[in-house]
């Protein structure tokens, strides 16, 4: 006889249940949305926070790593918005920007949007209840089993819904800035959507900003979803700079992408200077002859933990997917890469490849790399590769014999390792920004141990 095991709920899970019950009446949306929220919370509470026995979360045991949950963030006050406006002006902040403050869309801080883009807050979309948008927002698709995505649906406070009209071509990046401004650590639940119409193209650059006033309390928890729909012939170039959370901070990002026919999705993420980050992408090719290039670089030190988990489903024939991810791991950091390519029956002429390369700079750093291929068609080309090791000693010696001190030789090689993927972004301005962040991380690394400990 088997006994059903009912795991004891952790303090974090109990806190989240209380938070949902206390706030469900206040969270935005009509009655249909309220039911969706309740169902989603049911999915979450049935399994709780994901843990090592959930295969997709095996290497990021959230139940163990996130002991406590934090109170939900409040919408930013007018004073906060005013301060941020001054801060942005003083810093010469990016134009063409959409700003989320503690997960809430703030139109007053957003500016410079090009023609052909329509933007609304998630809260207003949920209240209006336009069926097509609600259907898109609630289409968890490949992420249906993921309890973190369900938790996000239950507690989503706000976000931004971006629609790009068909045939609109926007070459310069539209910036989506996630600001942390709350003076005390809080939990943010945001859900955003991006619909790129047929034949349209957009470059979306996500970045993070910590408001001056929040400098001392960066250890918040964020659960952010981005739902992307690319219509036939649409193009999206997406970059994400995931930085600026402190040790103890948790950032969970889920990107759900549906790709139509002859469309192109290009995505690059830099993860650096974080506490715990999980980025999961669920991507489905719904139309033939489309292309997706996913890449990213994670730079980790201290006890940081970064997890990139990808599920790419080829449900249509003739599509190309490339996943290329690199990790540099120092100190006691942990990296996780899980890439799964699934080729559905009938998705012939699929071309899917994944590659993960990790450099371990310390004996105490760890890398978990798990490539998976599930192939149900017979005329496909799929491959995977993973490497894990230290820097090439021959290369280091060669550079040293030319006069470069060890630290400089090492930094040059590390910059080259990470820079290869940065250079693939395809936009000179963004390449420069990302290159600068990589260099900044490397220069922090070369500080004396004591100075680094103070940062970690």
């Amino acid at each position: 006889m088997n006994a059903d095991i009912i795991p004891a709920r952790t303090p974090a899970e109990i806190f989240l249940a209380d938070a949902f019950n206390a706030s469900r009446g206040r969270l935005p949306g009509n009655t249909k949305v309220a039911k969706w929220r309740a169902d989603s919370f049911g999915v979450f509470s049935a399994s709780g926070l994901p843990h090592r026995r959930v295969e997709a979360w095996h290497y990021t045991d959230l139940r163990a790593l996130m002991r406590d949950a934090l109170p939900l963030a409040m919408a930013p006050s007018p004073e906060t918005i005013d301060e941020l406006r001054k801060e942005f002006a003083a810093a010469g902040a990016l134009v063409r920007r959409l700003v989320l403050v503690d997960g809430f869309f703030v139109p007053e801080l957003s500016s410079g949007l090009p023609q052909g883009i329509n933007v609304r807050s998630l809260a207003s979309v949920l209240s209006e209840g336009r069926p097509d948008l609600i259907a898109l927002l609630s289409s968890q698709g490949l992420a249906a089993q993921d309890s973190i995505v369900s938790l996000n649906a239950a507690l989503m406070q706000d976000g931004v819904v971006i629609e790009v009209a068909p045939s609109t071509l926007i070459a310069e990046p539209v910036n989506l800035i996630h600001v942390t401004a709350s003076p005390a650590p809080t939990a943010h639940f945001s859900r955003s959507a991006l619909i790129v119409g047929a034949g349209a193209s957009l470059r979306l650059a996500e970045s993070m900003h910590v408001a001056n006033r929040a400098e001392s309390v960066r250890a918040g928890q964020a659960n952010a979803c981005l739902i992307v729909s690319l219509d036939n012939g649409a193009k999206l170039a997406h970059t994400a700079m995931v930085m600026g959370t402190a040790p103890g901070g948790v950032r969970l990002e889920s990107v759900m992408v549906r790709i139509g026919a002859r469309a192109k999705f290009d995505s690059f993420a830099l993860v650096a200077g974080i506490g715990l980050v999980r980025r999961q992408m669920f991507m489905r090719f719904d139309g033939a002859e489309s292309e997706a290039l996913l890449s990213g670089v994670s730079l980790l030190g201290g006890r940081e933990h970064a997890d990139t988990t990808l599920l790419v489903e080829h449900a249509a024939p003739g599509c190309v997917s490339r996943e290329t991810f690199k990790y540099i791991l120092d100190d006691e950091a942990t990296g996780v890469f899980q890439g799964k390519i699934r080729v559905a029956p009938g998705a012939q002429k699929t071309d899917g490849k994944m590659l993960c390369k990790a450099l371990l700079l310390s004996n105490f750093a760890a890398m978990n790399s798990k490539p998976e291929l599930e192939i149900f068609s017979d005329d496909v080309a799929c491959g995977h590769g993973a490497t894990c090791g230290g820097l090439d000693l021959d290369q280091l010696f060669y550079l040293q014999t030319r006069g470069l001190p060890f630290a400089q030789a090492e930094a040059l090689l590390l910059e080259a390792f990470a820079g290869e993927l940065v250079d693939g972004i395809g936009h000179q301005g963004l390449i420069k920004v990302f290159r600068r962040e990589v260099s900044a991380w490397l220069s922090t690394r070369n500080r004396p141990a004591a100075a680094r400990a103070a940062i970690a």
Binding site: Y398, Q400, R402, G403, F406, L412, L413, E420
Partner: protein, 251 residues
């Protein structure tokens, strides 16, 4: 001037260099010849500061100063240069970026000012032109995907820019076609000066027709077994190394 005195080097308990003595004076080009496995490349690595080896006894002096306790980059800053037998490919590092970093790192260690970009570019263009290295090659990643000849020319370009007081050339002639051999030999000859010494490691006498040595040393089983003038290279070409291998094995 390079002086090697009573040098004993081992790796994992196996002796590679056995009581080796060698002096190469300023302005002198010394050829080092010897059969495969005699320790020529080991010697070049030990001089440059590779850490895989155990120095049992002995001394290496560069311009009268001991360098054995110095890191490879400090040796370079003191004026030492090694042209590698197999130059390492460094993907992702543009050749020009590397050249500038190397040159300025050495200048910094010597307490000199960094070169300005125009000044640096002028030097590179002058030296690169002589070695038939075009701008396109300088923009590519260092040695990555370079042909054998391109890699060797790049080594000579680095030597020309870094202006060492002593250079070790480890089989720089191997793998070169006749035209490339001329380019490389001309590059080396252009750098010969009364204040610069060379140790040219080679298997073949042919390169020594172009870079004419002042002295020829024969190495076998980790030591110098015979030294002579340039005619010794011709004799070796005719008779091979058999005598030296047997001789030293008996000894």
């Amino acid at each position: 001037m390079l002086e090697i005195k009573n040098l004993n080097v081992s790796i994992g308990g196996r002796t590679l260099l056995d009581d080796l003595d060698l002096i190469v004076r300023d302005g002198e080009v010394a050829a080092l010849m010897g059969p495969n496995g005699s320790g020529k490349s080991t010697l070049s690595y030990v001089i440059a500061g590779r850490k895989d080896y155990t120095i049992e006894t002995g001394e290496i002096l560069l311009n009268g100063e001991s360098i054995l306790n110095l890191e490879p980059d400090a040796r370079a800053a003191k004026g030492l240069f090694l042209a590698f037998q197999y130059p390492t490919e460094i993907p992702g590092v543009a050749t020009l970026t590397f050249l500038k970093a190397a040159l300025n790192a050495q200048r910094k260690q010597r307490g000199q000012q960094e070169l300005s970009t125009p000044d640096f570019m002028k030097r590179v263009r002058t030296s690169a032109g002589k070695l038939k290295i075009n701008q396109d090659m300088l923009k590519r990643a260092l040695n990555a995907g370079f042909s054998g000849g391109e890699k060797k020319r790049m080594e000579i370009l680095q030597m020309a820019l870094l202006e060492p007081s002593f250079a070790v050339l480890d089989e720089t002639d191997s793998g070169l076609d006749i035209d490339a051999l001329h380019v490389v030999a001309d590059g080396v000859n252009a750098l010969r000066s009364p204040r610069r010494g060379f140790l040219v490691i080679t298997h073949y006498q042919r390169v020594l027709d172009h870079v004419v040595p002042d002295r020829v040393h024969v190495m076998a089983q980790g030591r110098i077994v015979r030294s002579g003038g340039k005619e010794l290279a011709v004799e070796l070409e005719k008779n091979g190394y058999r005598d030296y291998v047997v001789e030293s094995a008996v000894a």
